[in-house]
Symmetry: C2
Amino acid sequence: MSPTHTGVTTTPRCRIRDILDRIGDKWTVLVIVELTDGPRRFRQIQHGVDGISQRMLTLTLRRLERDGLVQRTVYPTVPAQVDYRLTATGASLTDLLHDMAAWSRTHQHNIETARHHYDATHPDSDIR
Amino acid sequence: MSPTHTGVTTTPRCRIRDILDRIGDKWTVLVIVELTDGPRRFRQIQHGVDGISQRMLTLTLRRLERDGLVQRTVYPTVPAQVDYRLTATGASLTDLLHDMAAWSRTHQHNIETARHHYDATHPDSDIR
DNA sequence: CAGGATCCGGTGGGATACTG
DNA sequence: CAGTATCCCACCGGATCCTG
């Protein structure tokens, strides 16, 4: 790689997409955050993540389990009892999520100002 | 907030969604990365971001401009010449993108292993 | 060159009903 | 309780054609 290169990746193609494909959807990070304080059961998570449908919670948890970010444990009781907890890999995301939240907080005001200014100076734009 | 709370957010609702709504789509980070080394013109970006359609490049740049992450400059030449560059706010994303890429590199192997294991032990799952 | 305008298909995700 | 099974639709993004 060129010595003057100051880009983000050290490999030919962008690694950032990897993690975005994993947490960039509508619910994943909210579910992860819900698990940061310890194991939670299905209903607990659904109650904690406002607005998530039971279908999407299932899909989100399955994907997290498949990637090894969440461990699913079934207790052979009647009725069935299941809990989910972050694995070490899943928990390692916490720092990154902190950084993302920090960036949002830091730049939130600037972005909203820029946005209002754009909307004011581009009244007939349908971007939004 | 409870003193034992170790979650990610310090506000009631998750700030992480803010930034994900901004960079979580298919092309935004790739375009930003393409601009990290300095101003680029429309065709240059399109050539640098493999596979992006002209429509999506336009939309992505408009959104970045609206949020004040990218500055669009039109030079009154014939034919028109336009370049895009990161603003200070946009450039401030670089560290975050570095961290995201670093996380991906660090955990890539574990995730792929977990995934293969899941697929092997759940042969009739349609998650993928 | 740098886009605007359309058309169109795939899919992410919601609502609802049912089950072990 | 913890899901599974369908149906359905909005919208994200691709392809193509046109313009200042």
